[in-house]
């Protein structure tokens, strides 16, 4: 569907109620990112259904996330070294910008605890490598003030620890894997940080550690497992 062909109310209702097939949902999502008219219709419908004051695709749109992922990856591609670029290109083409895992971290000022958002649409996750996250039950060393640990749901092979005091994010990914997975820490505006995780010596795990992260909202995404490399 091109820009000029708009969606009807029924389709928009189905889109909001998440009743559409994945392909159709993506198609509408892409259209919404470009079509102001349809977006207004979505916002109006959303207000009717959920009685919210305001709705934007940025906060609620599933398909809008697809556009955002593409933007993050494109941005990462432009701001990384040549050896990594091919991998990001493959990520974009082979996996259609889907990710192996995603969380959002909001670092506020020093007095306020960091927030972690773990609930994202399944649509964003690469099939076979999809990883949703949940907050880990605070046990042992995790229960210390200022530290939040989240783990990958179902298969606890990825663990992320956020430390508000140190403004750090520590990521551990269980191996063995055929390659060290890439991680991208993207801000809303600035350049994303792209890192290739390193093997944690003496273990089967891969990891990355970000320190002194400034205040702001960050999206942390993980390269899908078994992404094709050339």
């Amino acid at each position: 569907m091109n820009k000029l062909t708009h969606y009807n109310t029924k389709e928009i209702e189905q889109y909001i109620a998440e009743e559409l097939y994945e392909e159709k949902e993506l198609e509408i999502g892409k259209h919404l990112a470009e079509c102001k008219e349809c977006m207004e219709l979505v916002q109006a419908q959303f207000r009717i259904i959920f009685s919210l004051e305001q709705w934007t695709a940025t906060t609620h749109g599933r398909a809008d996330w697809y556009v955002r992922m593409r933007k993050i990856l494109q941005n990462a591609l432009e701001n990384t070294e040549v050896s990594i670029q091919q991998r990001i290109k493959n990520w974009m083409t082979e996996w259609n910008c889907r990710v192996g895992g995603i969380i959002q971290i909001i670092f506020k000022n020093a007095e306020r605890a960091a927030e972690v958002i773990t609930d994202f649409p399944d649509l964003l996750l690469a099939p076979g490598a999809s990883r949703q996250f949940v907050h880990a039950i605070a046990i042992g060393a995790n229960k210390h003030q200022g530290e939040i640990t989240i783990i990958s749901k179902d298969d606890p092979s990825i663990e992320i620890t956020i430390d508000q005091k140190k403004r750090s994010a520590m990521i551990r990914i269980k191996g063995p894997r055929s390659f060290n997975p890439l991680l991208i820490l993207a801000t809303e505006t600035g350049k994303p940080i792209v890192v290739e995780t390193q093997k944690i010596e003496g273990t089967n795990f891969y990891g990355a550690y970000f320190e002194n992260i400034p205040e702001g909202t960050y999206t942390l995404i993980l390269e899908p497992e078994n992404a094709v490399r050339q």
Binding site: N142, T161, E201, G202, T203, N204
Partner: protein
């Protein structure tokens, strides 16, 4: 010092097997490759007359290895002809074709790789395999690299890596384009039964087979379950964390006794206070004898907490520095602190272990620390031998120092010795290096679990006919006899019995047991329960982490069960003869008096001195 080597991969010319096939390259030397003539060559390739007398030069300059072709026949690197008389940078794993017949591979000098039919196969991993490594799912073979050094597509291969009785891995390798390589971590299938039986250290071999042809063998040592290798590779080092047992009753009891005022889940105020109180407890309440490590201390036999804190009544114990460190670490972890295990080399063959603790609890990233400087301000460290007594024959009777003196001693030791690594136990736990499932008594091996389940199944089946569902030692004996590849079958076979006939006699015997009495619920007889208790005792006296088949068999042949008597009568077998045969089959079992574990430990330690 040699940092690189050249390996002769293949030559279309048949060469003498005694011909040098590997040349180690020193950074301070210029190497000339060619055919022997008046002028000496370092890399003698005289077997190939398509090579110039002075074919190429290889040397090290400004951090790089370089090659220069000086021949009439040319030199190719990974298939590309290099310009004559021009220095060209060499990278590891470059394949050099000199002339058009001889292929050499340029690799790091410590590469364990081997050449086979124009392939280069490099298998890297640990020289030691142990239950701890297996339990932590750490790789015994870390990486396999295969390079096709031919100028054409390779055939697909089947690679098999195996160590007989212990593990095996089979991988289908797809065809590789010319000069391409593949790298992977092989999936290993481990024979748990064999590893559980590993009471003593044994030498084995890692066999590399391609398309079912054995192409290479390399040594691998199977450590006993309670042994560790300290310096061999990072995986063995992190596997040490499996021997820190925070839930062990002796560690838990030591923490409880150190902090009598604390009950339940009250957290002890801080790490320093915890270390100080524990230190005071071991220093003042216990008489712990320091045992110096044995000569070859890079592999150590470890004592678990109950083997260190031997006598709770008289508060007497013993251990090497590493045993004490593992105990102290277990206590700290039990008290919810984050211990670190320090390893220092004090002389060429001697290592010293010390215990430290992070001042603050945090989730940390690194498991192995190789740089000491960033740690020093964040930890409290002490030397555990400063709360011990020397052995009676030592001139110095007492090592005992105060807590502060012990910390100072540890810092002194760090300055004098060579710091090897610090192992962060809490970080290791985050990477799945969990404590061994040992709680002061042996565990049922997988084999015994299977046999136990089979015995119950037999009781269930016969119970459905007879109405009597009690499982007894005789069910266990039957299950053992029915288990393929077991020692029981071997024992009966070696003793002249027909196994199938024995099984048939026992089966029909079981069907007549207690006929008429109704017990509908599946339950064990008293003797059956005693059997496990006895087997457990035998396992412990053998210093085995697991109750193995031989322990169960010994318990069966020694138990006072009438059903076993009847069975032996029916098959015309005698306990004494079977016990004798068992002793000959398993010399380590030796059927000697079964001492209490602590006595046994004392014997071991006496033997070490």
């Amino acid at each position: 010092m040699s940092t690189a080597k050249l390996i002769l991969l293949g030559s279309k010319k048949v060469i003498d097997k005694s011909q040098v096939r590997t040349w180690f390259l020193d950074e301070n030397h210029l190497y000339k490759a060619g055919r022997k003539n008046a002028e000496s060559v370092d890399i003698d390739l005289s077997f190939d007359n398509a090579i110039s007398r002075h074919h190429a030069e290889i040397w090290f300059e400004n951090g790089s290895w370089l090659i220069k072709d000086t021949s009439a026949f040319g030199t190719r690197i990974n298939g590309l002809e290099i310009p004559k008389d021009t220095a060209y940078r060499l990278h590891y794993y470059h394949a050099l074709v000199l002339g058009n017949r001889t292929t050499l591979l340029f690799v790091p000098s410590d590469s364990p790789g081997i050449a086979w039919n124009n392939f280069f196969i490099e298998v890297t991993g640990s020289k030691f395999f142990s239950y701890a490594l297996y339990y932590s799912k750490l790789p015994v073979i870390e990486k396999v690299k295969i390079i096709n050094c031919r100028d054409s597509m390779s055939e697909p291969l089947t690679l098999c890596l195996r160590s007989l009785n212990y593990f095996r891995s089979i991988k289908e390798i797809e065809a590789l384009p010319a000069y391409h390589s593949t790298e992977f971590t092989p999936e290993i299938t481990v024979n748990t039964f064999s590893l559980e039986k590993q009471i003593n250290r044994t030498k084995s071999t890692l066999e590399i087979l391609i398309n079912n042809n054995l192409i290479h063998m390399q040594d691998i040592t199977m450590l006993a379950w309670n042994e560790c290798s300290l310096v061999e590779n990072p995986y063995n080092q992190t596997a040490l964390a499996t021997f820190v047992l925070p839930m062990h009753p002796s560690a838990a009891m030591a923490v409880k006794d150190s902090f009598p005022e604390k009950t339940g889940n009250h957290q002890i105020a801080n790490a320093k206070k915890c270390m100080k109180e524990l230190y005071k407890y071991f220093n003042e309440t216990w008489k712990i004898r320091y045992l110096p490590p044995v000569a070859e201390s890079r592999i150590q036999t470890l004592r678990l907490p109950e083997q260190v804190l031997l006598d709770w009544e008289h508060k007497e114990g013993q251990g090497t520095c590493l045993d004490l460190v593992l105990l102290f670490a277990a206590c700290l972890e039990h008290a919810k602190f984050q211990p670190l295990l320090f390893m220092v080399r004090v002389s060429s063959h001697l290592y010293h272990a010390m215990i430290a603790c992070w001042k603050d609890n945090h989730v940390r990233f690194k498991v192995l620390h190789k740089d000491i400087e960033p740690l020093l301000d964040e930890i409290i460290i002490l030397d555990p031998i400063t709360f011990t007594q020397q052995s009676p024959d030592s001139e110095k009777k007492n090592n005992k120092l105060s807590f502060d003196q012990s910390c100072a001693e540890a810092m002194q030791c760090l300055k004098q010795g060579k710091f090897l690594f610090a192992l962060d136990i809490a970080a290791a736990r985050k990477c799945d290096i969990v404590p061994l499932p040992y709680r002061g008594h042996a565990l049922l091996s997988e084999f015994i679990k299977e046999v136990d389940a089979a015995a119950k199944q037999l009781a269930e089946e016969t119970g459905n006919i007879t109405g009597y569902k009690v499982y007894m030692p005789v069910h266990m004996l039957l299950a053992l006899l029915m288990k393929e590849d077991g020692i029981t079958r071997l024992l009966f076979k070696e003793s002249g019995f027909d196994i199938e006939e024995c099984i048939s006699i026992i089966k029909s015997g079981i069907e007549t047991i207690k006929h008429g009495n109704i017990v509908k619920e599946l339950m064990p007889s008293q003797h059956y329960e005693e059997l496990f208790y006895a087997a457990l005792k035998y396992a412990q006296s053998e210093n085995s982490l697991f109750v193995l088949e031989e322990h169960m068999l010994l318990a069966l042949l020694k138990c006072e069960s009438r059903s076993i008597d009847k069975v032996l009568q029916a098959i015309k077998g005698k306990r004494e003869l079977l016990l004798e045969k068992l002793a000959s089959l398993i010399p380590s079992l030796a059927l000697r008096g079964r001492e209490h574990l602590s006595t046994f430990c004392y014997e071991i330690t006496s033997g070490l001195q």
